[in-house]
Subunit: 103 residues, 2 copies
DNA sequence: CATATATGTAACCTACGTGTTACATTTGAG
DNA sequence: CTCAAATGTAACACGTAGGTTACATATATG
């Protein structure tokens, strides 16, 4: 699964947000959702397969943490398109659009 | 449809990339894909509904162009998570350095 | 006005993603 | 050794996304 698809799911985005603040074990992640633990486990696998997170074993627990690279891919793509777009517009057009948005 | 889901589809990402370089009419977009025109038309509608693009009529053609905000939403989210993550990583490195100093 | 062109909509089909429950696997503890 | 805890996997159900073809809706043009 590619990174964009991985991040399209709201549950997986939430997991990414959790892990952005630090390492968490699978159980701790699962208990923050209303869905079943296997469902969360699947999301974690998809996040691993898309390289958004990685996991390490600690006894019988698995500790998940965020992997920066994949996130950068998303941010960079979106930012690059946005830059092309804004370069393409001249200052006047941009100004007029902002006027319309305020109206 | 939310922006993340909109951007998860490779066809729609290609359309966004095309439009980042300038306005295009529906037909010009459609002919660059192997799928049927109605299929592309649907993608365009989804992109409109998620505010990634907007369209204006010009005679019997419809000219599509990129809309900046929605893209920014994606870029900002990804970048924000990445920053939290790297801040967290810096903290860990600092912690480990302190450990070393004590050793 | 009649017709062709450009585009979107509707109805339908299929594949796939996401949920569930039941089971397997690993590992710490008594 | 045995058992419970933590986690992942398998099999299945089901909704929805995305493809197709057929049709509808403007709008330019002869």
């Amino acid at each position: 699964m590619d990174v964009f698809t991985a991040v399209a799911d709201p549950t997986r985005r939430s997991i990414v947000e959790m892990l952005a603040h630090g390492e968490l074990e699978a159980g701790a992640i699962a208990e923050r959702f209303d869905i079943s633990r296997p469902a969360v486990s699947r999301h974690l696998r998809l996040l691993r397969e898309s390289s958004l997170v990685c996991a390490r074993k600690d006894g019988r627990r698995r500790l998940y943490r965020l992997e920066g690279h994949a996130l950068t891919e998303v941010a960079d793509w979106a930012e690059r398109q946005r830059v092309f777009w804004s370069d393409r517009l001249d200052a006047l057009e941009r100004h007029l659009e902002e006027e319309e948005e305020r109206a």
